[in-house]
């Protein structure tokens, strides 16, 4: 089993664990954590897709000869995408927690079951 596979499987496992959490936990903070775990899983999967066994980081320093760069480095694109995805994920999670703070303030409850006033 090479590193790519391990990371992939870890990523997928995190996705499933995260969804399990979102589906079973009643505490809103835990649901947000579930989503965060799913995001992490997806980010791992993304990075793993860019990985090539035995290659180095896409930084063209002394370890990488410029003319042969394309045969020495891993794919830089997923890394760039993950960077963006992480930042956006952080922003969304922070905002979600803010909503929970405000919701808690109104009903003094963190249970998702207590916020069903809008329905049908």
């Amino acid at each position: 089993m090479n590193i790519t596979t391990i990371v992939h499987i870890t990523g997928f496992a995190l996705i499933l664990i995260g969804f399990w959490g979102m589906l079973t936990q009643k505490n809103m903070i835990k649901i947000i954590l579930g989503l965060a775990i799913v995001e992490t899983g997806v980010q791992l999967v993304m990075v793993a897709f860019g990985f090539i066994d035995g290659r180095t980081a896409p930084i063209l320093d002394s370890a990488v000869e410029l003319s042969k760069a394309s045969s020495l480095i891993v794919d830089p694109v997923p890394q760039a995408l993950v960077l963006t995805a992480i930042v956006i994920g952080v922003a969304v999670n922070a905002l979600m927690l803010t909503f929970v703070i405000r919701l808690y303030q109104q009903k003094k409850s963190l249970s998702i079951n207590d916020y069903k006033d809008l329905k049908w």
Binding site: D53, L83, F99, I101
Partner: protein, 233 residues
């Protein structure tokens, strides 16, 4: 048990979807598509050693501008949502004072962390790192100060100014590309000379942009922390 059955079924179903992906992933042996082009031309095009940075700041600069926007908006939104009435600002419960170790340690560490953060974003085009990472490091310094001193307050006016103007300058640098180079050159880093490959002052506007991003992210994350730590009403 029955309550758990539906989630279980759903997660198992998802498992089968992911299984299909997992069983069909073939390991990469070579760079393909756009990644190959980046690897071959990135250095000569943009003069950045760190290809990820080249992609993030220039090739896919619009994404990054969007990313900065998202973070900025989250900060704004959190400030909006956690706004509080001014009168009640001081009536919060007194927090327990931090321990001596934390106080002393933070005094020692804060300058170093801040400096490290700055280092990360200034060297973003040369080594792993960049504006977001550097900004996050700086924000962690602010967080340490919050922990060490519960009465510590950030200077909002200054922070807002830094946030605003680093953002505006970022947009202006992008627009300068349009003005100087042409309609297809928004966020082109080559409005400044590319310089000598591998030095600090190379890669055109990349270090400049990353510095602005670093400042912006640092102040934004710090403001978010500040907003979240306060008591509400």
């Amino acid at each position: 048990m029955i309550k758990r059955l539906i989630p279980l079924l759903l997660v198992i179903s998802l498992f089968f979807i992911l299984l299909k992906v997992a069983t069909n992933v073939a390991p990469n042996y070579d760079l393909t598509g756009v990644a190959k082009t980046y690897a071959e031309q990135g250095a000569s095009d943009l003069g950045a050693m760190n290809l990820v940075t080249a992609i993030v700041v220039t090739y896919r600069g619009l994404d990054t501008l969007g990313e900065v926007t998202v973070l900025f908006m989250a900060g704004t939104g959190i400030a909006l949502l956690l706004r509080r009435k001014k009168k009640k600002n001081d009536s919060g419960i007194k927090n327990r004072a931090a321990s001596e170790i934390l106080k002393t340690g933070s005094k020692l560490l804060v300058p170093i962390i801040t400096m490290f953060g700055a280092y990360i974003f200034i060297n973003g085009h040369l080594s792993p790192g960049g504006g977001f990472q550097g900004g996050a490091a700086i924000a962690s310094a602010v967080m340490l100060m919050f922990l060490a001193d519960s009465s510590f307050k950030i200077n909002h006016k200054v922070f807002v100014l830094i946030e605003s103007f680093s953002g505006i300058f970022y947009v202006l640098i992008g627009v300068l590309g349009l003005v100087i180079l042409g309609a297809d050159n928004f966020l082109d880093n080559r409005i400044l000379p590319l310089g000598t490959f591998g030095t600090i002052l190379s890669a055109g506007t990349i270090p400049l942009i990353y510095t602005l991003v670093g400042l912006k992210v640092g102040t934004e994350l710090a403001s978010i922390l500040d907003n979240m730590k306060g008591e509400l009403e």
